[in-house]
């Protein structure tokens, strides 16, 4: 469904992605793990064409989206829904206008019909009677749900989640995990989530890929990842402060202060 080949991206002198290869099957739930600032968000933004790669290819349903212009990219984007880290709701619009935004832009539905659809999608994420509120009036967990409702409004085939559980308390986080699993079962979507929350990763993933130093270090089922022999992956999933990742980091800091 999605195939990423040799993807490279740098910002000025900062080489963020240094040759990412990753393939995501149709209907699969892929979770990309990695530390803060490792380039997870940059990676996911390439998949939906918000960022353009320096080099490399990204195939979505067989089509290389790196070669498309903005117009054509927009039609590919309709296959996607994305939930942002802080929900990224439009704060000038009400909740139902947020959820119905894509419908308003891309269908000829009347406001009344859009409102009805928005209600439906909100019910799917467990929210009722919030249509007329402003995003700022909602809690963080509710904002993410509205963000999810907005992401599924156009009935996408692929859902992208940028740190869906970050910043939520454990209970709200688990409810979001359940929603993500539910979306797959109900909507039959392919999904890509990025996170550093291992509890969430094990729960929602068919396969887990670890991003480190701009490359995919290992890909495997949650069980394979749990039993990894890769010392970097092992340190990350165990959340330990001692290990090769820390050593690398210290070396880097030393080099930088030497300059």
């Amino acid at each position: 469904m999605i195939k990423i080949v040799e993807l490279k991206k740098s910002f000025r002198n900062n080489q963020v992605l240094q040759g990412v290869d990753l393939e995501i099957q149709e209907g699969e739930s892929m979770v990309v793990i990695g530390g803060s600032g490792s380039g997870k968000s940059v990676l996911i933004k390439h998949i939906i064409g918000i960022l353009r790669p320096d080099t490399g290819r990204i195939y979505v349903a067989g089509e290389d989206i790196t070669q498309l212009n903005e117009q054509d990219l927009n039609s590919v984007r309709k296959k996607f829904g994305m939930l942002f880290q802080a929900a990224a709701l439009f704060d000038s619009l009400s909740v139902w206008e947020n959820v119905g935004f894509g419908l308003k832009q891309h269908t000829g539905l009347s406001d009344q019909e859009i409102r009805e659809k928005a209600r439906e999608k909100l019910a799917m994420v467990g929210l009722y009677d919030v249509e007329d509120l402003r995003p700022s009036e909602l809690s963080g967990g509710m904002q993410k749900r509205v963000g999810l409702a907005r992401a599924i409004a156009l009935e996408p085939q692929i859902l992208l989640y940028d740190e869906p559980t970050t910043g939520l308390d454990p209970i709200n986080a688990d409810m979001i995990n359940n929603l993500i699993i539910g979306m797959r079962e109900k909507l039959n979507v392919t999904s890509v989530a990025i996170t550093h929350d291992m509890v969430s990763a094990y729960k929602i993933a068919d396969r887990i890929a670890m991003l480190y130093k701009g490359k995919i270090l290992q890909v495997g089922t949650p069980r394979e990842i749990q039993n990894t022999d890769n010392p970097f992956v092992r340190q990350f999933i165990s959340g330990s402060a001692v290990g090769p990742i820390t050593e690398d980091l210290e070396k880097e800091l030393m080099e930088r202060s030497a300059k």
Binding site: K45, I48, G49, A86, A88, D91, F101, G102
Partner: protein
Amino acid sequence: MELKGQGAGYVTDLLEVLGDWIMEGIEEIGKVILLFFKALVWAFQPPFFLRNTIKQMLEVGVHSIPVVLITATFTGMVLALQTHTGFQRFNAESLVGTVVALSMTRELGPVLTGLIVAGRAGSAMAAELGTMRVTEQIDALYTLATNPIKYLVVPRLIAGLVMLPVMTVLSDIVGIYGGLFVSVTILDANRTVYLRRTWDYLTFNDIYSGLLKAAVFGLIISLIGCYKGFYTQGGAEGVGKATTGSVVISSMLILISDYFLTAILF
């Protein structure tokens, strides 16, 4: 001249910093122009966001009209006072109306309106788009298959382009009447004579060149406000910088372009 030791080091450092500045400046100008052309292309492709455009026009107006009116009124009033003082010296008091009218329509109407709108509406655009950028709302537009330049930038450019001339007309009128008020009540001028002197010497070209200036200023304000907001980086601090930056740059560009427009349109 030979430079040795530390002196040479400083000079190369200075040149390096200067070089970086110039490069960054050129890059930035390039990005502004690119944004303008992208907006131009999107502006002519349906769907048209009419509601957004009208909303932006109201924003530009509502933010600034009260200040514009007050400023223009007092500018007209002080112009009358000053010209009267000067013209009295060679018995040309009757021409006060003409001077006020020409100054307002050709120069002060558009420039003052431009500076005020840059401070109010232009900064508001930078702040709003900047916030949308750092909270990923602009990225969210992309994911909803809606081009943010078309959805956010185009309506603001149109609003600036249309509203600045409209507000300039208003400020011309209140400026002229401010001058009239001072002349009649304080300087003992004759109302009819004053108004005749105003209309007799005012040509279509005076008004037209002022409005053309206003349109250009409106475009500059919106373009810079949108540019600064659209490319904001670095969280809340970045939004603050974008906001002040937009006011400084568009005010400067207004005054600089004012000179060249005047030179061309004279």
